[in-house]
């Protein structure tokens, strides 16, 4: 089967959406897939929202910018509003019900609501791990990259801060295993 996914991770500045993207891209790399990562940057971010785009494919990748996104993590309402209309039909969408009123979006059956911030805050003990909870949830839905490679990616990414490896893996697991 051909692998090709355009994933957008969006939220407030400070919610770690850029980092989450690089972890996804790094996971793809660990899995020997092609990948690109592209951030929002510069004064664009002054508004307070940020996003990053990850493309994962088994073939060479053209644009690192998503024209037909099939994966979305939306950590706040603004982000979901902004990107939902762009998603292709067959999309995997994770939304943070801790910050988004799921009622407003219930007509869209693709969206999986997860109380991401809550899980991070209560289960993991660090609200900053919300991004990784979301990553765990998304790869569960998308089935790519593999959980193992996400863990490897976290190890690579935090190789200089080993203390953070465990908590992030825990967060990914929490998202992955959320029912």
């Amino acid at each position: 089967m051909k692998i090709y996914n355009e994933i957008i991770i969006a939220g407030l500045g400070g919610q770690g959406v850029l980092l989450a993207g690089t972890i996804l891209a790094q996971s793809a790399l660990e899995q020997n897939l092609k990948t690109t990562w592209f951030p929002s940057y510069g004064a664009e971010m002054r508004g307070g929202t940020a996003n990053s785009t990850v493309i994962i494919s088994d073939e060479e990748i053209g644009s690192p910018i998503a024209f037909s996104p099939s994966g979305l993590i939306a950590l706040n309402t603004l982000s979901l509003n902004k990107f939902l209309p762009r998603m292709i039909e067959d999309s995997s969408i994770i939304a943070n019900s801790s910050m988004i009123n799921s009622d407003e979006f219930k007509s869209d059956k693709r969206i999986k609501f997860i109380p991401i911030s809550e899980i991070a805050d209560k289960e993991i003990g660090n609200i900053k791990a919300a991004n990784m909870v979301a990553v765990g949830a998304l790869i569960k839905l998308m089935q790519v990259p593999d959980l193992e490679n996400v863990k490897k990616a976290i190890q690579t990414a935090f190789s200089k801060k080993p203390a953070l490896v465990e908590i992030n893996i825990k967060a990914v697991n929490a998202g992955y295993n959320y029912k």
Binding site: G42, A43, R46, G47
Partner: protein, 246 residues
């Protein structure tokens, strides 16, 4: 109860897009108030810089234009010389005014153009993400001084107000700050005077506003204003640096 303080007419309704707690918003308001009080809104032309305040033209409720990075003094010269009846001011950051725009700043001041310059010194390049500015303090860590500004490698903080005071073309120079309300009120006075001077044809007036940039300083707004008071002002003392208008 009467409304005693509210958004001045010289500011548009648009919400400001600066980061939470950013000093630019305060300074914008002070300028707008001064312009309203002097009744000059309808004949004011502002020159926005390239820097966070490039968006000033979305907020000021009077005619505005932009200048390439560092060139507001030249653009303002072009405007004022051909329109001596208009009130012309530049609004510039420390990168814009004191790095790339050094030549334009000095020669505009030296020619004694009858304009008003609002110089926002926030000790770094805000818009581009917090690199060293000419005004960055010794030891200050920025995006491009990861080891802290070392004067032997990166030179010393440039004191623009003191430098310009040497030029016979400058008439009024004051350094103010906006880290707390009393200082904001003082800053307003200085800004108003700088416009008043222009109205009266007294010549080049320059207000350096020590401002805060919480986001690029990696500080909360409260930490930022505290840092201004406790650290920043040590290198840049407040006060009237020159006044020959009296």
């Amino acid at each position: 109860m009467n409304k005693i303080l509210s958004k001045p007419e010289a500011l548009k309704d648009n919400p400001l897009s600066y980061c939470p707690g950013c000093g630019h918003g305060i300074i914008h308001r002070l300028i707008a108030e001064a312009i309203d009080e002097l009744g000059i809104r309808e004949r004011t032309i502002a020159v926005a810089p390239v820097g966070c305040a490039v968006f000033a033209y979305d907020y000021f409720n009077f005619d505005t234009t932009e200048a390439p990075h560092g060139r507001p003094p030249a653009v303002a010269t072009g405007i004022k010389r051909t329109n001596p009846d208009k009130i012309v001011f530049t609004y510039q950051g420390d990168g814009d005014l004191a790095a790339i725009g050094t030549a334009e700043t000095i020669h505009c001041a030296n020619r004694g153009e009858n304009i008003t310059v609002i110089f926002v010194n926030n000790a770094n390049y805000g818009m581009t993400g917090g690199q060293m500015a000419p005004t960055t303090l010794i030891g200050q860590v920025t995006e491009t001084t990861p080891f802290g500004r070392d004067p032997l490698r990166e030179g010393y903080p440039v004191k623009v107000s003191e430098l310009l005071a040497n030029l016979d073309g400058t008439k009024y120079i004051e350094r103010v700050t906006v880290f707390d309300a009393p200082h904001v009120i003082q800053a307003k006075k200085a800004i108003k005077k700088a416009f008043q001077n222009q109205v009266e044809g007294k010549g080049y007036s320059f207000i350096e506003v020590i401002s805060h940039c919480p986001v690029d300083w990696g500080k909360t707004p409260l930490e930022s204003v505290k840092w201004v008071e406790e650290v920043f002002l040590k290198t840049f003392p407040l006060g009237v640096i020159k006044d020959t208008t009296k």
